[in-house]
């Protein structure tokens, strides 16, 4: 796992869940190659483990189902999705976003597109990309539809 490859597309927890909840999930999972971080993976695991009642159509169910799909796919041996380990590991509510920033600070040249759902996080990462002079587009994960 430590030697997972870095694909040019880096995605955060929320955008992975959004992709996993689209009609084209099966196609996207098989055809797209992307990378996420161990912190985002941990956030997905937390959604799956969340001990909350998740009725059909609820946000809880959306998070749970999406996270489970992404985790299953990440753990498949033949998967073209990879997970990189970020050290030191950030904590707190913005840990996922922070992990992307850390990864980009160290390996920004490996990426071309970063996908995040949160607008404030996108603006913050755009500043980081500009400061480092990277050639990376920071996009809204929802627009992948």
């Amino acid at each position: 796992m430590a030697s997972d490859p870095r694909h040019p597309l880096l995605a955060d927890t929320s955008s992975l869940i959004a992709v996993a909840n689209t009609d084209q999930w099966d196609v996207l999972a098989e055809s797209v190659a992307l990378t996420t971080t161990n912190v985002c993976k941990h956030e997905l695991q937390n959604h799956v483990n969340a001990n909350t009642y998740a009725p059909e159509g609820s946000r809880e169910q959306y998070l749970k189902r999406g996270s489970q799909r992404v985790l299953d796919h990440l753990d498949e041996d033949s998967s073209s999705w990879s997970c990189v380990t970020v050290v030191p590991r950030p904590h707190g509510p913005d840990a996922g976003e922070e992990s992307l920033k850390q990864e980009l600070s160290e390996h920004g040249d490996s990426y071309q597109v970063v996908s995040l759902l949160d607008g404030a996080a996108r603006r913050s990462i755009r500043r980081l990309v500009d400061d480092h002079g990277y050639d990376i587009d920071v996009v809204d994960g929802k627009l992948h539809r």
């Binding site: 490859p5 098989e30 190659a33 073209s80 755009r126 587009d137 920071v138 996009v139």
Partner: protein, 108 residues
Amino acid sequence: MSGSSYDKTIQFRAGAEKEAAELLDEIHIGGVNVSELARTGLIEMLRRSLDEQDEIAVYERYSRGEIDEDVARVLLGEKIDQMEVEKDAFESAMERDTSTFLADSDGE
């Protein structure tokens, strides 16, 4: 910028609200500019009434040139600039060699 000037009026029914405005105009030192208050208040309430879908619809009409920028700015405010950035980022990403994002092309 379009030529939307301030020569258009909005009329709406008011009872106690009109009396309250007139009362404040009378007792407040220097009076109050009810038109200015109404414009500011209307902008605020219009923005509050806008949901995410509405924002996208307004932005799309604006980017197709169907509505003027000052009208779009009344509804979207600074978001219009943020939406511009998002659109540019997405278009820029689409212009890349998308085959590099596909599983098969993962040669190096």
